[in-house]
Chain length 460, copies 2
């Protein structure tokens, strides 16, 4: 609980107009897109410079006040929910593109820059930052760095972690560090950049990010392939990965997801297990890959194999896939979705999808299954209603069972959404004694435990 003098101290650092204890502001920073109940911060602070962030962290550390870095709010595991109150540090006004170094394919941004906005600017210069999270229109670079976000393009290009060259980070005591290098490769000491990326605001606050960029592909092609059975579709996915195709996206949608997508996005896909496959490259190279994909799909009893020819068609398909989460929500008015995000070794992807479908049947819970199949990353959405506690509990429990099954198959509890609050109790089972190493690092960098407390680490 913050005292009046704390509020005044924060006002002195950032100015009265950038501090609020208004109910509406507290509520706006009390939830993310997960199913968690709201937890209000004591105060919302909007810094606009590294110096301000440093001063805030120095003060908060002295007074042992929780700091919860806040950005787009589109996370799905309660990552920025202020479970112990304290200061919601709203970073989204630090939203400038500071420097575009075209000659080195690098860009320096503040954490509040929105992913889609950045890519719009980069596109004009023939470059892009590839991870492509589903929440592209709201997700900020700072949030992506905190959660090591990825999405549809990770199968070819990798995740956020693979593109961060340098980070400016403010540590709990207020010290400002620059981690990483502008060189593409470095073996100079411990890889702090990759430690901070994905640490979900539990080690410090990112105030500047230098990203490595990629040139836009010469050509793009998209294929939609429809299968009669789940097994055929997931086998086709497996063979794409196993036998050397190099797609820039390889997405799977189950029948339910296709139906919701058709209904909400006005598409008319066949209501069958479906894969979307995208290729980036030169024309000749892509043509050869598509022929190979066609054979591979035919071998797996493909019912329909269509290429999206125009850019408009392609854009419509990807928008549909990207907005699957929203389409599902709109299909069940008033529902709460219990989101799942596991990732398994690619040979286990089909088994994982079958498990979800059987579980849904057995428990009588609607569960959608779709995801970044090429990486083995499956998303699920179990449909629940807050005013029907029995279904709600069943949907939460079903999603936990999905996580447990992923661990049984050698997978991870979090493919791309992070651990946040919701998955913290699985950490012991996934990591065993190596969780103690994570705790040791946390203690070393944040000895008073002020940074986003309650996240990642289990209660015991």
């Amino acid at each position: 609980m913050l005292a009046q003098e704390d509020i005044r101290a924060l006002e002195e650092i950032v100015g009265k107009e950038n501090v609020s204890v208004r109910e509406a502001d507290l509520v706006a920073h009390s939830i993310d897109e997960s199913w968690m109940e709201p937890h209000l911060p004591d105060v919302v602070v909007w810094p606009v410079s590294t110096e301000q962030v440093s001063a805030i962290l120095r003060y908060a550390n002295e007074r042992e006040l929780p700091i919860v870095p806040w950005s787009g709010g589109s996370s799905l595991e309660g990552n920025p929910v202020p479970v112990y109150g304290g200061i919601a540090l709203a970073m989204y006004r630090m939203n400038k593109v500071l420097e575009l170094r075209e000659e080195d394919l690098q860009v320096v941004v503040q954490p509040g820059v929105v992913y889609a906005e950045l890519n719009k600017q980069l596109r004009r210069r023939g470059m892009f930052f590839p991870p492509a999270p589903g929440s592209s229109e709201v997700a900020t670079i700072g949030g992506m760095v905190a959660n090591n976000s990825s999405g549809m393009r990770a199968v070819k290009y990798g995740v956020t972690r693979d593109y961060v060259l340098k980070l400016q980070v403010v540590l709990p005591g207020g010290m400002v560090i620059e981690a990483g290098s502008l060189a593409k490769k470095t073996t100079s000491g411990y890889d702090l950049v990759r430690l901070f990326v994905g640490s979900e605001g539990t080690l410090g606050v990112v105030t500047e990010v230098t990203l490595r960029l990629i040139g836009l592909p010469e050509n793009v092609a998209v294929v939609v392939a429809v299968f009669d059975t789940l097994e055929d579709a997931t086998n086709a996915v497996y063979e794409c990965v196993r036998y050397g195709l190099d797609p820039s996206a390889l997405e799977f949608l189950d029948e339910l997801t296709v139906r919701a997508t058709n209904e909400q996005q006005g598409l008319s896909l066949r209501i069958k297990p479906t894969i979307f496959v995208e290729f980036h490259g030169n024309e000749a190279g892509i043509a050869e890959q598509i022929e190979y994909l066609r054979e591979l799909c035919e071998d797996n009893n493909c019912l329909d194999f269509q290429m999206a020819v125009t850019e408009e068609e392609r854009e419509r398909l990807w928008a549909a896939r990207r907005d699957a989460h929203d389409s599902i929500k709109l299909s069940h008015p008033g529902c709460t979705m219990i989101a799942g995000d596991i990732c398994v070794p690619i040979s286990k992807f089909g088994e994982m999808v079958s498990f979800v479908h059987e579980l849904s049947e057995r428990e009588g819970i609607i569960i959608y299954a779709f995801g970044h199949a090429g990486d083995g990353n499956l998303h699920t959405e179990a449909i629940a209603w807050r005013d029907r506690p029995e279904i709600f509990q069943k949907a939460v429990r079903a999603t936990e069972k999905i996580v447990e099954h992923a661990l049984d198959l050698g997978g991870t509890v979090a493919g791309e959404h992070g651990v946040g609050w919701i998955k913290r109790e699985f950490m012991v089972r996934e990591h065993g004694p190596s969780l103690e190493v994570m705790r040791a690092i946390k203690r070393a960098l944040d000895p008073k435990g002020i940074m986003n407390p309650g996240k990642i680490f289990p209660s015991n």
Copy 2:
């Protein structure tokens, strides 16, 4: 200094036959391939199991004895030189391929497996582990993990760090942890795998490594392009990277290096600044890339543009490039080579090469320049003789100036060889306050400082 009782305790753990204080064994573990003077360990121990490593580390931690993990010995910065004596922990008898999971393109190995041996086995199954260090025939997977090694293929495929899914690590107190996941993507807690990779044995001992593999490319093509001037050659390199070519290797050799390569490897390349470019992919895709490369080279006044047609020709060229280090050594009998390994943003690569040539001229020191140009990673070899101290000091100082210039250009002191002992004093300048974070992590994981003491961190 170890006492007799320490030797007896070690013998009890691994058996008498796996402990040695013989002069020849101590000497064999006192130097690497760098120019450092030898430093003898007190004892060499050859464990054969994780349990033994754990027992050794528990004992050493209690008694505060230095542990220096040892493997192929091909490092170039004094990384495994026992500067404070103690136990040379020779890991190279733990050299089994434990499990090949073809269905998931994964392999589990012990740290002593040699890189080239592993790839020979994988090749039969149509797979490979791409980093390709110059020392492929001796470098072990454990050493590559410790130093985050890479090489010619990093420009397309990335470095060792990008391929390690899981690590079994023994910590100083003897605790055994499993870090990472078998899933291709994970955002489950701190990225310990990438922290241990590249930590040069200063945090723990790696006893098992799970690597992600890649399918062998359908086709391979190699081009050798020769230029009249350094500037033309480095411009061509820059344009390859900047304008979207996707080579699997992009190597630069200066005139001196070409000459040494011709003389020692029996090639007859023109003695001019030269680039080697390799492509992996399907036939049509490669053909298009080569046409693009040809235009780009012609625009940069290319004198000669040859494709290596047969696999034999290709193999000969790559062997020549891989063995450049040895060819140079053979060209100066009795010399000591002062190796350099900096990496700069790609737009600065040409400037870096020119600097090296000017420096060589100015100081009257022979310096070879070559390297993984596509990543901005330049290797230098300054030629010195131990019995000519003035030249020796000049060559060392020149190499330091190269490192300093790389930092001036926004680069890093270590592209792929690590920091070891030789570059530790540059760490303050490269990392500033973030070095304090590295130190905090070191203290948290190795509070008594037994792991490879003296490495990475500067003396003050």
